[in-house]
């Protein structure tokens, strides 16, 4: 009975969202009565949909295996936490969650935006019709409410063990929250274009929303990368897998978008760019959903393949993008600004930044789609590997950072005073040159790209230190959020460069009480234990590691065998210190009783996520401060 109620509530809310859309676009949306009406229908519809989700969560907690999806992805033996997160462990449920977040953003927007705002009703209309599109997709092609009747199975099939991890329970929600958060900016942009009144300042209103979604997206990607690092046992943080790339594209676009938003919310310059980017961010988020869920691209992350789903999503996204672009071209003349961008002004740097981001987005898109095109033309399967992305991303990011460096002191609509650049340049260049020389002689880093990255990463950080100094000593105005985020960028570049250059790994073959030596570290296998877990059996191997300074510590990597599917997973053991991670995984046991062990020294890897966190914090704080300063 509960299943049918949840199903019915979802259908009901789909209808209500559609009514909301109709009212907002076909009635006079300036009438306060209509705005109130639309706002109210939206909240009701949202609550109905939300209750449907909560009922579904309850079904999962209470092990209701008459629901096909729950029977396929949950299990009686799972802890409650994973029973809930099993909902988003596969296609149908994660789509459900995706729409929940989509409508939640709308609901929060609805709550915090006063009803006398011109664009409010239409923005809600855009959010509603997008939700309707996805709800129909959910209900028609991937229904999570499908039942197994009359006899439900006694136990479910369990979720994939590698997904039974606290971090993976929160990584998809964060990521989805980021993806769909841009619906606010998209909705406002469409509403603005539909209205066609250039005097409406929609950019100001969406800044904090966009920054918040950008932060969630950054957080989601960083969490995913961290999870992959410690759970999959490969020891890397980014693999240029197609599915990672489709998350990177909206992120790059969103980053360009929040930058050009800050310019166009000050003056009408760059307005066209901002509008285009707002459409692009949201479309790329949807495009990501299409790539992941259609199975069109072969990836380790992709969901089960179903051409029908792909076709629906493609048609829906295509329609959305076409309508948006049509509207855009129709209003193009209204948006033209006769103001010229002053050379070396902040706007000019942001335009340059847009071009760099555009190149990166284009290259990533090409890398994702090229295998498809190639197979279609030559009937030969190919894949585009990391070297391609490195060849593009490394130089472009570094060049962009040089421009970032010079943009730090630039002002809105004013040329930069070139003379004022010299003193800070001298100081920061001395600092970063010292670091490079140190890296070259002390750590014998000879790779030119690594040295260049060190130089540019550290020069940015040092430059911002000077900014902070001026802030405290001369009370010079500083956007502290920008300082934090860009220092994060500098740190990210340094960390990636050092990690890439200095990390190393080796496979060892070791018996109990034997000692192997790797890079002056003594590694001894002390003991093997069989330990039962809640829904798995595990073998734990105790290793004693002695570093060159004579300090010892134990690491206990693990191999688990899960009951439900008989799947074997490896749990890594990591010893984290300030500069490096010692990362241990165990492989198979050989016939002579020895074990294969993989040891990695991952240099500076924690700092990669730390710098991502700096960006997240900066984004959230700025979003918060902007939302408070709004009238």
């Amino acid at each position: 009975m509960l299943i049918e109620i949840a199903h019915f509530l979802s259908i009901l809310s789909t209808g209500l969202f559609f009514i909301c859309f109709i009212f907002s676009f076909f009635l006079n949306s300036k009438d306060i009565f209509i705005i109130n009406l639309v706002s109210r229908i939206y909240s009701h519809s949202f609550f109905i949909f939300l209750s449907s989700f909560f009922v579904y969560v309850w079904l999962a907690i209470s092990d209701n295996f008459s629901v096909l999806y729950i029977a396929q992805h949950s299990n009686i033996n799972l802890p409650v936490f994973y029973k809930i997160s099993s909902i988003w462990s596969a296609h149908e449920g994660s789509m459900f969650l995706w729409i929940i977040f989509l409508t939640t953003w709308g609901a929060v927007y609805n709550l915090f935006t006063s009803n006398d705002q011109l664009l409010k009703a239409r923005t809600l209309g855009v959010i509603s019709i997008t939700s309707v599109g996805f709800l129909l997709f959910l209900l028609l092609t991937s229904n999570p409410f499908e039942t197994i009747l009359p006899v439900p199975p006694e136990n479910g099939a369990d979720i994939n063990p590698v997904l039974q991890d606290p971090l993976l329970a929160i990584h998809p929600p964060m990521l989805y929250m980021g993806y769909v958060g841009f619906v606010i900016a998209f909705g406002q942009a469409i509403a603005f274009l539909f209205e066609g009144k250039p005097e409406i300042k929609w950019e100001k209103q969406v800044r904090s929303w966009s920054l918040a979604s950008w932060s969630f997206l950054t957080l989601g990607i960083a969490l995913g990368s961290w999870w992959a690092y410690y759970e999959l046992g490969w020891g890397g943080y980014w693999f240029w897998d197609p599915v990672e790339n489709v998350a990177l594209m909206p992120w790059l676009t969103a980053t360009a978008f929040v930058h050009s938003l800050s310019a166009s919310s000050k003056s009408s310059i760059l307005r066209i760019w901002t509008l285009l980017l707002s459409i692009l961010v949201f479309s790329l988020s949807l495009f990501g959903a299409f790539i992941v869920r259609s199975g069109i691209i072969d990836s380790v992350h992709s969901f089960a393949n179903d051409p029908e789903r792909g076709l629906y999503l493609l048609a829906f996204i295509g329609l959305l993008v076409m309508v948006s672009l049509l509207l855009f071209s129709f209003r193009f003349n209204l948006l033209l600004s006769n103001k010229k961008i002053a050379s070396l002004s902040k706007e000019s740097f942001i335009s340059l930044n847009n071009i760099f981001f555009g190149t990166l987005i284009f290259s990533t898109m090409l890398g994702v789609l090229y295998p498809l095109i190639y197979e279609f033309i030559y009937n030969q399967k190919i894949s585009v590997g990391a070297p391609f992305y490195n060849a593009i991303f490394v130089p472009i990011t570094l060049i962009a950072c040089i421009f970032l460096y010079f943009s730090i002191d630039s002002k809105w609509q004013q040329s930069l005073n070139i003379k004022s650049l010299f003193q800070p340049l001298l100081i920061s260049l001395t600092f970063s040159a010292t670091i490079v020389i140190l890296a070259f002689f002390q750590f014998s880093i000879t790779n030119l790209w690594t040295l260049a990255s060190l130089l540019i990463g550290s020069i940015i950080i040092m430059r911002y230190m000077i900014v902070i100094y001026f802030y405290f000593v001369y009370r010079k105005f500083t956007n502290i959020f920008s300082v934090i985020a860009h220092c994060g960028l500098g740190l990210l570049i340094i960390s990636i460069a050092l990690n890439d250059n200095l990390s190393s790994e080796r496979a060892l073959n070791i018996k109990i009480n034997e000692t192997e030596i790797y890079k002056d570290h003594q590694i001894t296998l002390k003991n093997l234990r069989m330990v039962p877990g809640p829904n798995f059996d595990s073998v734990k191997a105790d290793f004693l590691i002695e570093n060159p300074n004579g300090k010892t510590f134990t690491l206990t990597p693990e191999k688990r065998k899960y009951f439900a599917r008989g799947q074997v997973t490896t749990e890594t053991a990591i010893h984290a210190s300030f500069l490096k991670d010692i990362y241990l995984t165990i492989g198979d046991q050989l016939d002579d009783g020895s074990w294969i062990v993989n040891i990695q020294f991952n240099i500076f890897i924690r700092w990669i996520w730390f710098s991502a966190m700096m960006m997240v914090v900066a984004g959230l704080l700025l979003a918060h401060s902007l939302s408070r300063s709004r009238p």
Partner: protein
Amino acid sequence: MKANRKQRLITVLLILATSATGSFLIIRALDSNLDFFFTPSEIFKEEIPNNKRIKVGGMVLEGSVLRDKTNISFVITDYQGSINVEFDGIVPDLFKEGSGVVVVGYLRDKTLVAEDVLAKHDENYMPPSIDIKN
């Protein structure tokens, strides 16, 4: 007016030239970094240079896995052709005889020297373009 037009023309030409050079560089980078995907039966029909990184997908042949310390060798097959693989390192957890793998590596004397051995997260995964006849 005329000067204005001329300036515009120059701007447009400049933009075109930069984007053309940019695209050219990107596509060149792309072309030199492609990994070709083969099945075991296709692999010896083609001329593949030693220095070309390739991917081979298929099933691990039952009884073909041999281990020596950290080295592992096995045969991957698509039931029409097969190729011997050598790898030094840890194979993924989902690696087992009779199930699907993708190997990335270089061809040396009819043997694939693996850089990486991949198995999917999903245990129901089949490498593309293989029909299992059983």
